[in-house]
Amino acid sequence: MKKLSRHTFRSNTLPSMAMVGPVTLWLAFFVAIPLVYVFIMSFCSIDESYNIVFKFTASNYERLFNPNYMQIYGTSILVAFLTTILCILIGYPFSFMIARTKWKHKALLYMMVIIPFWTNSLIRIYGWRTFLGTGGWLNHLLMTLNLTSEPIEFLFNKGATVLGMVYCLFPFMVLPLYTAIEKLDQNLLEASSDLGAKGHTTFRKVILPLTMSGVFSGSIMVFIPCLGYFFVSDILGGGNSDMIGNLIERQFQSGNNWPLGAALSIILILITLLLVKLYQKAGGDMDSLGV
């Protein structure tokens, strides 16, 4: 009996250690420790030469309630919200078409969503700037077609920021939606139609509830990065309406106040956790987040 238990110990523990060990180490080194470091830093202070000193203070968190910061949180959430809504409105029919097409090269369509992402997003955002500028191609085209006499100013406002965000984050909406719609059982749709439901009723009562998990996980995956993509509001927004990401970046750069930057990052993490909690409450499945 003793021998047997030792045997099972060996045969189970070693392989599972070998399997789980690297993952655990990875998570510890690249997720847990950095997070703890950020958390600790958010309670540190800086001395007169801007060195970080480990003297406990909550003042970084007090500074977060500054009315200017509050307005920036508001702007960020508004931009992220609009981006998410637009991604759903465009992404849903888009994913539906890809997932339900009878065309045999379905994988190709799917790939075409991903291929632009092989290019650096910064470069693609600069591309938009060239395209939309007052001397850009779009204005050139509109003026050639006599649709406008003066160039339209597309850039350097919140609208341009939202556009850039939608463009950058669109695949994160499409991929979970595609998975959810792909899984739809054709028989259920047929049953719905057999029972006399019209197209829109089937959509409302069958398709939408069954693909809601995809909408939720897509929304989470769009909303959260949107709060942090400071370069989009810098380049397309012209730096006129800062977001949380800009605030954090500034404290690590010119502001030279890493503890305050860390406290801002913690706030961003808290918002994220809150959203994920809401998502779970709404019945979302953590696995389908792909994280």
Binding site: S49, N68, G135, L155, G238, G239, N240, Q253, S254, N256
Partner: protein, 358 residues
């Protein structure tokens, strides 16, 4: 058999490597002209500030290998130098106020200027700056001025000062650097105050005036503010002189104006961080960059304000007479370097900047 073969192959490789090392050091010893041959210098400079060809020529001439890395802000550089172990960098390139900050924290080596035989190329007026009296720690490299660029085809008023940027008739037409010291600095200057003022009443006044700039600003852009001007997105703005020079080449309607209140002036410098293990080779590098011919080659590619008078003399009329590339002496004389701010004052600056940009 296979095993032996692989062992032999490894042995052969190792022998080749050893032989390689040997011959290299022999070579170094053999060449008396190249006392530092074989040394590796870790050089940390601003991005887009020194042509690769000049570094390659230096390597060729001295046998020193240069390991070149770049940064895009003084604060980045400071953080990196602090976080690395001593001796990780042999040469850094801090701006004026950063020289002062690093020196006050004991982060820089004192320079033995007797080794810099080309130092006399630097114009007297650039020596002994207020941020480093006596040039104890730093030697000026290149600098610039925050100038005003104006598209004269769109704006017919005469622009003479930073204060003109606040004119309400330029609503939504101004491009500014995405740099709080530059924007708050020009606001302070327009009121006749120092760019690094710590006086609470002055700061209040600056903040009020700064916020009136908001409706005028079309965009903030530090990477390429000239683009907005060239493409007609903005008609007026403030940016570094070298950017204005490039904009003028693209669009002849664009003109450079140096503010009569006195301009924001910066100077980037060569310095050696404390703990460098190759101080002598580093001095050789700095001396090489002080050479008139080498410096003029750099200047041809990066036309900034150059304190090296001998190099400027070699540049010819195109550079010397270009007001944007080579600002007149009185502009430099009336210019102001920014100073380090204490943490409380920096918070005030940061808050007004946040309010402007929200």
């Amino acid at each position: 058999m296979k095993k032996y073969l692989s062992i032999m192959a490894i042995a052969a490789l190792a022998a080749a490597l050893l032989a390689g090392c040997g011959s290299e050091s022999e070579e170094a010893a053999a060449d008396a002209d190249k006392p530092y041959a074989g040394t590796t210098l870790n050089v940390y400079t601003w991005t887009e500030y020194i042509p690769d060809s000049v570094i390659e020529a230096f390597e060729e001439e001295t046998g020193i290998t240069v390991n070149h890395s770049t940064f895009s802000s003084n604060e980045d550089m400071l953080a990196k130098v602090k976080s690395e172990s001593e001796g990780a960098f042999d040469i850094v390139q801090p701006s004026d106020y950063m020289v002062e900050q690093m020196a006050s924290q004991g982060m820089l080596e004192e320079l033995d200027k007797t080794k810099l035989t080309n130092l006399s190329n630097i114009d007297e007026s650039y020596m002994n700056p207020e941020y480093d009296p006596d040039n104890t720690y730093s030697i000026p490299y290149l600098g610039g001025v925050e100038a005003i660029a104006v598209n004269t085809a769109k704006i017919t008023d005469e622009i003479t000062k930073y204060d003109d940027l606040f004119d309400s008739s330029y609503e939504n037409q101004v491009v500014l650097l995405d740099d709080f010291r530059a924007v708050i600095g020009l606001t302070a200057k327009s009121l006749g105050y120092s760019m690094s003022t710590t006086d609470a009443a002055e700061l209040d006044e600056i903040k009020t005036k700064l916020l009136t700039l908001k409706p005028n600003v079309k965009l903030y852009d530090s990477d390429s503010p000239k683009s907005a001007l060239i493409q007609g997105e903005a008609t007026i703005g403030s940016m570094w002189g070298a950017e204005v020079a490039l904009a003028m080449e693209e669009n002849p309607d664009i003109e450079v104006v140096y503010p009569e209140e006195g301009a924001y002036l910066f100077m980037d410098n060569w310095a050696i961080p404390k703990g460098s293990k190759n101080v002598d080779a580093a001095m050789e590098f700095i001396n090489y960059m002080l050479d008139a011919e080498n410096m003029s080659e750099i200047l041809a590619e990066f036309p900034y304000l150059c304190p090296n008078a001998a190099a400027v003399a070699l540049m010819g009329d195109e550079y010397a007479s270009n007001k944007a590339k080579n600002p007149p002496a009185e502009v430099v004389e009336n210019g102001e370097y920014i100073k380090n701010l204490d943490t409380d004052t920096l918070t005030v600056y940061d808050q007004m900047w946040t309010e402007l940009k929200q």
